[in-house]
């Protein structure tokens, strides 16, 4: 656990850079976190970030398929918005924990 200054705000993050407290999240923080992943956020990105934050809060297990059925983007579109690991990257930028795949 470490504290990191993001967009001028001290934010708790874990060793992989995922935020420990999703309630600290803001759009400004998202923009900064996205820059670290070389992603420039558009409104479409934010729609997805809001969607996965909402799903996370209601305790739903997130999957790429689920986001692909959200009506915001299809799976291919999701890969284009968050290249190379869309669920992990979008979760990180959305300030929620790394998605655990449980099998």
């Amino acid at each position: 656990m470490a504290t990191k200054n993001i967009a001028g705000i001290p934010v708790e993050v874990n060793e992989e850079g995922y935020m420990s407290d999703p309630s600290q999240w803001s759009r400004e923080i998202a923009v900064e976190l996205a820059k670290e992943e070389n992603i420039e956020l558009t409104e479409k990105h934010f729609e997805i970030l809001e969607f996965i934050r909402k799903e996370y809060e209601s305790g739903v297990q997130l999957t790429i398929r689920k986001v692909g059925k959200s009506g915001i983007v299809d799976i291919k579109g999701l890969y284009e918005l968050f290249p190379g690991g869309p669920l992990k990257k979008s979760s990180k930028i959305a300030g929620i924990p790394k998605p655990a795949s449980c099998v």
Binding site: V60, Q61, T63, I64, R65, K66, K69, I75, K76, L78, Y79, P83, G84, G85, A100, S101, C102, V103
Partner: protein, 409 residues
């Protein structure tokens, strides 16, 4: 007469029928079980059929052999569950009312979910090994195959028996060694996961085994479609893996009936309280095993352990007491690694698979996260245990709650 209705006569439904008929008074409780199929398949055995180790006769028995006396059995398609009015509608218009419902309709493969999968190469050069038909078709194919690129891939998470595709790759390695053509076969394991398995220590151990056996691993590959012409699988981010034969775990989904009943999530799995095993929607509906969305393996061992908890909680619900039994997500999997050896993992919601001994601390005889001959004998013996003890709801000397004794942190 009060009524308990069980949907599905697989591992879970059969265990519950046996447990409940033993304790519930016959003149008070009517137990009915519905299934669309008369054959019980020992599904862990499908894996051995492509390599000629088992035949179909080793994995098939009539379901009715395992149902207790004193229950009603109906072989029929289920149209839907009407949870608001406590009724289940069957094909042909028959209506079954219930006081308590147990959903144990499992998970099925849905190759149609992946474009190109179930097209001209299906059961010619593309196979599943999760059905009796797929396993037998693959057995026939391997008999005359001259070698090439064998791709083992996973389409989507979650899927039934998370170690099965790994076991398939290990057994393929051993099989082609034994028939003297391993040098002609290139084996590639393609997974949407970041590594061989989900949890760190098991991933490390299994990843090392894959490497030792010269099996290539392509991770974080999320398959979009299969190109039958060029014989490639293609991911959403446009990576391509060519194959000569593709053996795949297709998308797994709960029963269509769950979807029709409005009880499922996007994969038709039923949202279920992961501790009490009760449906999140209806107080008199419980969900056992693969049909639920609880975050643990979809596997027979989980069903077996969960059945103890579901039984306790159903009894409490019947008597109007709070549901105090809590499922811990306990899962226990044998992993065949080929050449007469095997490994075993034991874990739950909170604890990842750890090394150690099982079930007796310090003694074993099984070695957790180790590759031993004894573990393989355990798997071989298990088929007998499954038919004779487990399905009949009898006690096994393994607690349903996972134990830390014998595990090394």
């Amino acid at each position: 007469m009060k009524k308990i209705l069980i949907l599905g006569g697989g591992t879970g439904g059969t265990i519950m029928a046996n447990k409940l008929r033993k304790t519930l008074e016959r003149d008070e409780w009517d137990i009915t079980l519905v299934d669309q199929d008369k054959t019980h398949y020992y599904q862990p055995g499908f894996l051995f059929i492509p390599f000629g180790i088992y035949t179909k006769y080793d994995v098939m028995k009539p379901k009715s052999d395992f149902f207790p006396a004193g229950i009603n059995t109906i072989y029929s398609h289920i149209v839907r569950i009407d949870g608001e009015s406590n009724k289940v509608l069957l094909e042909g218009g028959k209506v079954l009312p219930y006081d308590f419902l147990i959903i144990a309709t499992g998970t099925q493969i849905q190759p149609e979910e992946t474009p190109g999968l179930k097209e001209e190469l299906w059961y010619k050069e593309i196979f599943d090994f999760y059905t009796i038909e797929g396993s037998i078709a693959l057995r026939e194919f391997f008999k005359t195959w001259q070698g090439g690129r064998l791709v083992v891939s996973i389409a989507e998470l979650p899927f039934k028996c998370p170690v099965a595709p790994l076991e398939f790759a290990f057994l393929a390695d051993a099989y082609f060694h034994e028939i003297g053509m391993r040098d002609k076969v290139d084996i590639t394991f393609v997974t949407p996961l970041p590594g061989a398995f989900t949890k760190p220590r098991a991933t490390k151990m299994l990843g090392q085994l894959l490497e030792e056996k010269n099996i290539n691993v392509i991770s974080e590959f999320y398959i979009e479609r299969v190109d039958n012409k060029s014989k490639k699988i293609i991911s959403y981010d446009q990576q391509e893996v060519p194959f000569d034969v593709l053996t795949i775990v297709p998308v797994n989904m709960g029963s269509d009936m769950i979807g029709r009943s409005g009880l499922g999530d996007d994969l038709n799995f039923v949202p279920t309280d992961k501790y009490t095993l009760r449906s999140e929607k209806f107080e008199n509906v419980f969900v056992l095993g693969d049909a639920s969305n609880i975050p643990t393996s979809k596997a027979g061992s989980v069903v077996h352990f969960a059945a103890d908890v579901l039984y306790e909680n159903l009894m409490s619900a019947i008597e109007g007491r709070p549901l105090l039994a809590k499922f811990d997500g306990h899962s226990n999997c044998y992993i065949e690694t080929g050449f007469g050896k095997g490994s075993i993992i034991d874990f739950n919601y909170e604890t990842e698979p750890l090394p150690g001994t099982f079930p007796l601390p310090g003694i074993g005889p099984f070695g957790l996260l180790q590759n031993t001959k004894m573990n393989h004998y355990g798997k071989v013996l298990f088929r007998w245990i499954y038919w004779h003890i487990l399905l009949r709801g009898k006690e096994l000397p393994i607690e349903s709650e996972m134990s830390m004794a014998g595990k090394k942190l």
